[in-house]
Subunit: 285 residues, 4 copies
């Protein structure tokens, strides 16, 4: 920043980890934690940094959220909003959806009834040393038609990569996603009617993207987070010497990483859209 | 090719379209087909090639299949197999899974009982001028632990982009995908036991990838194809002048594009894995 | 092309080699040609395609010239012109420079007096089975200030890579190049005066690029081509078994490849500028 | 670093500028400095950070030198050495070349006789508030045959981009460079004789690269640095409002930036070679 403006230089963000605990890593150091990248990372690099997962730690997502805040400034015409729509298999009631509720509970839940149920559900998982998964939904309003590309650089492909690349994510859907595979062609159509400047769509099964290019409808994704891999129940594993071991992950226990995923999903949406806005401008002026 | 070997030059593949029909595009030329890229493409480029979708046509996937055949030569240690696991919401019975059946029916179906049901289901859709969606599954056996990377170039992110980038695909899952969001941490663990040279995993909920890196287990993806957008029922739409119109897509009718997606999914799996094999060799020797 | 316009699909160009001669490659097949990529290519790939150099052949530059013609359509505001300024150490007289002469002789020479000398010089090299080098200069008029970037994607760095990447090129200069290293800071300054819309520069030692970004002055490069490596005088070499050999290159003899480099240099200039025009539009709107 | 080894995470280097002077930038702030990127940068971004050049400052090369030190660890088989071979048009005597002298004088000069002359020459420039250019040469010993590629990713093209991308560089040569354009084909040949494991070349006009691929000979580049643009003599220029102005650059005066370029040239050589070593391993195993 200089004289109130960015200077054209890359924006550098540095987040210092001020919440490290000098706790005992001896348990984790002894053996690979199933569900974590421990074994795969060591198989790749022949190296293991067992201090909280090292480079594979979800702490890295803090940088994504910070960068996403910058990306939003690049796309002021777009409003990005995410929420949790399901925890441990318990989904919100679409009729109860109220965007104003999302910030009113610790679960980013737009359905106050579901939020009350989740409080119990997540507490039980915590007390049991167990964990639960979650589904996060994200909508970007205001994306104009035309961002993306028909083969290389498809908007939906870049969004899918961005979302699956978030730690603990195992699935992604654009628009209706897997549910679209259960619709007929008639049900799945997004008919168009004349509108002012752009068509009015009477449905949005496509999630705002057709053929890799935005249609002008809201861009919608759904993202599946697996349950936290760190649990207090001992799990069979092996150590670095290949010997049988058991491991249980003590320390701070987070029973549902999906909840923390909400700002990360928003950030990745903003980052991908900001990229595509600039790419589109380069391509089409 | 020269003296029985590749020469180090890029391999060029050219597929001539010998099955064009000099049919009447006048209907399609008049208005945008909902569910296709017609409107979005025109919004981006200010141009519309209505001859079968132009660059947005799924004809392009023929090139992917051809390239995938070359990619398989780069990864002889890996066996890639895909099949249809669900059509129009009707899924195979896992207990009936028989890989040998996949080539014995026109649906790439590993469950002969389901194949019989699908024959009727797809025929009915065809006769009604309607269409149905499908889910394709793909497994790659023999991928060693260590391909991929922990943040940039994650194996699962690249697979997700490759799969969502296939025409008509709206969702992708790695391993258990959305089902993992409904499991507890204990259920979702992939415990390890000592094995010869590498661990024996007693489950594979992760689909062979942890923290963006292959674990040595089979790499598993599930891919959702929407129902074919071209249907004979007229759908509301607009023309290039923004006026109200109706459109129905005549000509060759393909009631389930997901079936044709099977070799494309296999090809994209092979292409991504071949890339990552070479990247891993560059990274880790 | 469709209805008189490009369709948004990548433009594919294919040039069939219709001038192959079924001549005897047995001499070339026996041993590596010094000065060619024969040995280095085989050292890399463990493979040798001796038919005219294979992938390392300058035939490849035909594709660059064709692509450059397309690139020029992207930058109609820019006029690109190249010429030969020196052959075999014999340079043009700057005072004789006449752009209209460039197309009037087989040497792309803007100085008719030098062209007459070169005719003799090149003929002698041809008759002796020898070869001579050349320097090609290229100017792009009409490039606006602002293309390029200060660190990554510098315009001069991309031009340098594009030019050195042409077969037989061994040196590149932006503006005064090596001569600038012999000037004082006062001599090398490009002073500015007020002008209509943009400054008037009273000199252009910088060749139109400062800090990786175009200044609005003509972009100037000089490119050194080595003498053709294929000569009729036998040269010491080794064969694939590492044994001593001698080689002389028969067949069509081209005593000065630099002359053929003129359209290639123009093409590479146009390709780099077209890229940077689009990048700049993406970056700065 | 963890337990004595890198952890597989990207290596982050941060250099704090502890030598800023709270001097008066008012002179520089008023007008564009000719020869600097001031005008071009402002033309691109509509923004000017006049504090020492901002992003266009050669301070940035400190990061390159630091990164080059890491790159050298990736290529322990290669020895990279650079020196100044010419200042203000006064060249070293090749017969006097002594690598051991390079560190014995402030000019990285391998010829002690030239070093003595340069001391006077540079001092005179400093006292006059003037500046002089320089030529830097760099040799990398130990690069095996096979790094690079025949068309995309040519080793010489990447080196050229890396060198021209250094602040103040206006020309680059591979091997004999522009001098090769004055040789005959016979003179420029690099004959090969049988040698142990690899050929013995009897000359190295090519600078160790043929067809974009290393030959196993030393990789040689020459780099031209223009004279420092900041001089004490007033130069005609314009201010941001397009009005006529004069500027002279006070403060620390560096009469020959080329001398400081030596470690930067070495670093860029090491960075490009380290990249190509890894690329080659990915390509050819």
């Amino acid at each position: 920043m200089f004289e109130g403006a960015t200077t054209g230089t890359p924006i550098s963000l540095m987040i210092e980890n001020v919440d490290q605990r000098s706790k005992d890593y001896s348990e984790v150091a002894k053996a690979y934690r199933p569900g974590h990248a421990d074994y795969a990372y060591d198989a790749k690099y022949g190296f293991r940094d067992y201090r909280g997962g090292g480079r594979s730690s979800a702490r890295e997502t803090a940088a994504r959220v910070a960068a996403g805040a910058v990306a939003r400034l690049v796309i002021p015409e777009v409003a990005v909003l995410a929420w949790v729509s399901e925890i441990g298999g318990d989904a919100i009631e679409p009729a109860n959806f109220d965007a104003n509720q999302i910030g009113n509970n610790p679960f980013f839940c737009p359905d106050p009834v579901a939020a009350a149920r989740w409080e119990k559900l997540v507490d039980e998982a915590r007390l049991a040393g167990s964990s639960v998964g979650a589904v996060v939904e994200c909508v970007a309003q205001g994306v104009p038609a035309g961002w993306g590309a028909p083969i290389y650089g498809k908007l939906d492909a870049d969004l899918a990569a961005a979302m699956i690349g978030i730690n603990a994510v195992k699935g992604v859907e654009i628009g209706d996603g897997f549910a679209a595979a259960r619709l007929s062609g008639e049900q799945n159509a997004d008919p168009m009617r004349p509108g002012p400047g752009m068509p009015v769509f009477t449905a949005n099964h496509a999630g705002g993207i057709a053929g890799g290019i935005s249609t002008g409808q809201p861009v919608k994704v759904r993202v599946a987070f697996k349950p936290t891999s760190s649990i207090l129940t001992p799990v069979e594993t092996i150590d670095r010497d290949g010997q049988a071991a058991e491991i249980r992950t003590k320390g701070r226990h987070d029973p549902c990483v999906g909840i923390r995923g909400v700002p990360v999903v928003e950030a990745m949406m903003a980052l991908v859209l900001a990229d595509h806005k600039l790419l589109h401008r380069g391509q089409c002026g």
